[in-house]
C-alpha cells in the first residue's frame, strides 16, 4: 500500500506560467511534509517543507499548500523557469514513526522556454 502518491508522472508548462505539483497521502499520522527536487545524476535536494499545524508555507517562488482533511498537498511554482525542470518528490514523515520519510514516486516537470 503506497502511503504517498504523486499521481502525475509528468507535467509540462510554459516558462512564466504556474506549475502545480500534487501529492496525496493516506496515513493520517503524517505530520511533516517536504518537497525535494532532483536533477539527473544528482541526489535530491530539499526545496520546502510544511508542518501539519500550518496550511501554507512560502519561500520565494515556491509555495506549499496542505489540506489535512483531504490528505492532499501541492507545490506551486510561480513563475516557472526552465531551470525548474527536474523531478520533484513529495515526502511525508510522522513523529510517531521516528520521523522516517516516506517518498512518492516523483513528478517530472518540464518548463518550456
Amino acid at each position: 500500500d503506497q502511503q504517498v502518491k504523486q499521481n502525475s508522472p509528468s507535467l509540462s508548462v510554459q516558462e512564466g506560467r504556474i506549475s502545480i505539483l500534487n501529492c496525496d497521502y493516506t496515513n493520517s499520522m503524517f505530520d511533516y511534509f517536504l518537497w525535494y527536487k532532483k536533477y539527473p545524476a544528482e541526489g535530491p535536494t530539499f526545496l520546502i517543507s510544511i508542518s501539519s499545524i500550518k496550511d501554507k508555507n512560502e519561500d520565494g517562488r515556491f509555495t506549499v499548500f496542505l489540506n489535512k482533511s483531504a490528505k492532499h498537498l501541492s507545490l506551486h511554482i510561480v513563475p516557472s523557469q526552465p531551470g525548474d525542470s527536474a523531478v520533484y518528490f513529495c515526502a511525508a514523515s510522522a513523529q510517531t514513526n521516528a520521523g522516517k520519510s516516506t517518498f512518492g514516486d516523483g513528478t517530472t516537470l518540464t518548463v518550456k522556454p
Partner: protein, 113 residues
C-alpha cells in the same frame, strides 16, 4: 563544504559478488540513511542510523548490511549481489530525525548482471 559524499559513482557487479558502498558526511549529523531508487519509483529506505554504533532496518533491508563506527561514515554492504539489487543508491544525513530535511549524496548507480 562537501556535505554527503558517496563512492563509487558507478559499479557493475556479477551475480553473487559482494561490495561496499561508501558514504561519509562532514556536517556532524547524527542521523544517516540509505535509500534505493528504482526506475520511475520513489526512494525506499534500506537502513538508518541514529548515531555511532546504532543502526536499524528500514522498509527494504533484505540483502544488505550496515555499520556505523563513526559519526561521519555509514557504509552499506551488499552480500551475494542479485539482479533485483540493480538500482541507484542514495546516502543521506539529517540534523534531527524528525522535522529536519535530508541532505543527500549524489548516488551510486549499481548494476548486477
Amino acid at each position: 563544504n562537501a556535505g554527503v559524499t558517496q563512492t563509487p559513482k558507478f559499479r557493475i557487479l556479477k551475480i553473487g559478488q559482494s561490495m561496499t558502498l561508501q558514504c561519509t558526511q562532514d556536517m556532524n549529523h547524527n542521523y544517516m540513511y540509505w535509500y534505493r531508487q528504482d526506475p520511475g519509483m520513489g526512494l525506499k529506505l534500506i537502513y538508518y542510523s541514529v548515531g555511532a554504533g546504532i543502526t536499524d532496518k528500514g522498509e527494504v533491508p533484505n540483502g544488505y548490511n550496515v555499520s556505523r563506527s563513526t559519526t561521519e561514515d555509514f557504509p552499506l554492504r551488499l552480500e551475494l549481489a542479485a539482479p533485483s539489487q540493480t538500482s541507484v543508491y542514495f546516502c543521506a544525513s539529517s540534523y534531527r530525525i524528525y522535522n529536519s530535511p535530508l541532505h543527500f549524496g549524489n548516488g551510486t548507480r549499481l548494476t548486477v548482471t
